[in-house]
């Protein structure tokens, strides 16, 4: 095997090249998830606010009937999924910036992710219940 030093044009160490590991692993996934959910939330939040305004003053039965519409139920499930995924990633970024101690950092992130998952599921299951029972 020939011995060669890293050329200046190649901005990675030989070990880095051999392992094929760049920076774009979990970091990319996090960044992409934040972008994707941001794009999804643009139309979804416009829909949510206008739709809610139109429900003002309605009874529970009327609201339930509205949510039970398959299109509305689908939009609610999408809104909940995008919102809580975006929120979990967003709060993770905040925790990484402010919590220095590793164990506390990891614990806080796990608690936030668990809470987001729980709230998303409670919301989605409520929507599904309304979609089925109307």
């Amino acid at each position: 095997m020939t011995q060669h030093s890293a050329s200046p044009a190649v901005m990675r160490s030989k070990l880095g090249q051999a392992r094929g590991l760049g920076s774009a692993k979990a970091g990319f996934h996090h960044w992409w998830g934040q972008k994707l959910t941001s794009f999804a939330l643009l139309p979804l939040s416009l829909w949510f606010v206008t739709a809610c305004i139109r429900q003002i003053g309605h009874t529970r039965a009327e609201v339930a009937h509205w949510v039970a519409n398959p299109l509305v139920a689908t939009l609610f499930v999408l809104l909940l999924a995008a919102t809580f995924q975006h929120l979990a990633l967003g709060v993770e970024a905040v925790i990484v910036d402010y919590v220095r101690e590793e164990k506390r950092k990891l614990a806080s992130i796990l608690i936030v992710k668990a809470a987001c998952l729980l709230l998303a599921l409670i919301g989605i299951i409520s929507v599904l219940k309304l979609a089925v029972t109307g």
């Binding site: 160490s13 972008k35 941001s38 003002i56 529970r60 949510v67 809580f84 709230l119």
Partner: protein, 135 residues
């Protein structure tokens, strides 16, 4: 977070710098506000979930939720929520434009920042004009 460089050394990845080192200016306040409104919207999701749970539960649960949300404090919270949403929404578009490589010139940063503030105010006022008109 802790990570490794490509030659295997363990390093702390860079995170946001300390606030105290900088002189405050408009762009910083706008940037910090994106974070604060994002967290406020996170608290607001509790109302969204409460609304759905109550609608799926009973007339009594829904009535209580509607009473709290419609009370003066509830309305005030919702005004804060819509203001946060429209700020985060508009500034979020600004963030996404940066991700595509647009808008980094200093003059553009200030112009888009002012646009975000004006659009937030217009959208929030418009939202509540409509709310009070239909109810």
């Amino acid at each position: 977070m802790v990570g490794r460089t490509s030659d295997g050394r363990v390093v702390r990845r860079p995170v946001s710098p300390h606030l105290q080192v900088y002189k405050m200016h408009m762009l910083m306040v706008l940037s910090g506000s994106h974070r604060i409104t994002g967290l406020a919207l996170g608290v607001g999701t509790l109302i969204l979930v409460w609304f759905l749970v109550a609608a799926a539960a009973s007339d009594a649960a829904f009535g209580w939720m509607a009473w709290v949300v419609g009370s003066p404090i509830g309305i005030l919270a919702l005004i804060g929520w819509t203001g946060s949403l429209w700020y985060h929404f508009c500034n979020g578009i600004r963030h996404l434009a940066w991700d595509f490589g647009y808008g980094f010139e200093m003059s553009t940063l200030y112009a888009s920042g002012k646009l975000v503030l004006v659009a937030t105010a217009v959208m929030t006022v418009l939202t509540w004009v409509v709310v009070f008109a239909v109810r």
